[in-house]
Amino acid sequence: MNTHVINLNPVAAPHAQTGESVSAVMLKVLLALVPATFYAFWLFGAPSFWLWLITIASAAAGEAACLRMGKREVMPQLRDGSAILTGWLLALSLPPWAPWWIGVVGGLFATTLGKQVFGGIGNNLFNPAMIARIALLVSFPVQMTYWVVPNVAPNLFDGLLITLGHTPIPDAMSSATLLGHAKTDLARGVDLLHTSLPGHAFNWVGARVGSLGETSAWLIAAGGVALIFMRVISWHIPVAMLLALAVPAAIGHHENPARYLDATTHLMSGGAMLGAFFIATDYVTSPNTKWGQLVFGAGCGLLTWVIRTYGGYPEGVAFAVLLMNALTPAIDRLVKPRVYGRTYGGKPISAEKGKRS
């Protein structure tokens, strides 16, 4: 029996692995976004398609550049699709006919300052897409609030010219989103009952003014529910967020319909659905325990309603998600699952409690 050389780094258990992989998860999320996106392309025509393409390309380019500068291999991390997903979500939250450089600046900002600075996937503390959208909203308010009436779809080539800023956008086409309209009217003292909502402001099917992600609420919700059944996301955050948005809205509307929009308007308009199913449920920046996710979702919903009703900006989802991202470490610290055999405080349970439970 010769003594064998000591193996200091053997292969450890388990020797079986799940078939799931990061790129598979990201692919499922991208697929869930496809229906809403293509419906939006159909609504707003080619410029939105080019803007979507440019945003994704610049997001991926930003990630690739940072990875190469950090001397880490580029292709595997790009192939896992997280940069594409970030770019896609950002594109969904931009005005459809925004100029090309909005997409480029947003995409680069999202992946470099939003994610790679903190160390790549899994390390960022704020949702990259939303950070980029807020940065753009704050720095280029005009381009970021320039909405277009749907169903006026120039062909592919003209669309490219519009996105590149060559042909100016006729004024007749521009209009305000429902939330924006409500905010300005309230500011002017006209209460909600007498305000004249533009024809396209609210449309059940979703053919209305707003960014790509704001239009087809139904399709986005369908994509989100599909993700829940594919077990990519859990129901806790979306349900908590939509409830926390609808309940105060309903109470407010019941108390003073002139002052507060009703629950369905809040849910169907703006980025509520996109925020609840795709942005707030971003793995990296949301808590990973069930109760934590419920608290996180409720926080997002409530803050969205507060900012939409009282805040300075018409759309509050992005800010709400970012503020709750900032609170996620605190939530993770306070809300922990009960360890088997221990109380919530972490102390071992007594034998009697063990027998009874």
């Binding site: 000591i6 200091l8 780094n9 450890a12």
Partner: protein, 175 residues
């Protein structure tokens, strides 16, 4: 012209009185920290940390001149305890991980001169005159006093061999 000087002087006086009174109410006796840290040290005064004994090292650590992991005898356990006491975060991976060492006697050249166990701070060496000596690995802090005494160089520092008891899964290197 006089008013500003007088008012500021009175204000200072008034606040001084309050602080003087408060200082007496909240008096705290000397810094018990040095004593606590010295209590944690092995207390063998072996000098491997280049300070005069454990008391010297404790004072240096509290003053911040020495890092919490400057005591090789105490190893990681002591370093972590001191870092926790000081509320300082400590990167332990930097601790030279050549693995703990212990003195071992080479039976072939030990002449039993009994000089080594006289200087061992923890009585880790067993032996009698003209008998072959041996080291209790468990009590040896690898301070090296014995190696200087040994005329034939029979006693030396060897890393503690890896056995099933102290073998541990390595930390996987992550992407």
């Amino acid at each position: 012209m006089l008013m500003p000087i007088v008012s500021v002087m009175f204000l200072g006086l008034f606040l001084g009185v309050i602080l003087g009174y408060a200082a007496k109410v909240f008096a705290v006796e000397g810094d018990a920290l040095v004593g606590e840290i010295q209590g944690m040290m092995p207390g063998t005064n072996c000098g491997q940390c280049s300070f005069p004994g454990c008391a010297g090292a404790a004072v240096a650590i509290v003053k911040g001149e020495a890092a919490p992991d400057c005591c090789p005898g105490g190893g990681k356990a002591l370093a972590e305890a001191i870092a926790a006491k000081l509320g300082v975060s400590l990167d332990l991976s930097a601790l030279a991980d050549a693995g703990p060492k212990a003195a071992t006697v080479d039976e072939t050249i030990c002449i039993g001169c009994a000089r080594c166990y006289k200087v061992c701070p923890t009585d880790a060496i067993m032996g009698a005159a003209k008998q072959i000596h041996s080291v209790l690995q468990d009590a040896c802090t690898a301070c090296g006093n014995c190696t200087e005494q040994c005329p034939t160089g029979a006693i030396g520092m060897q890393p503690i061999p890896v056995t099933l008891d102290n073998w541990n899964w390595p930390k996987p290197v992550l992407a």
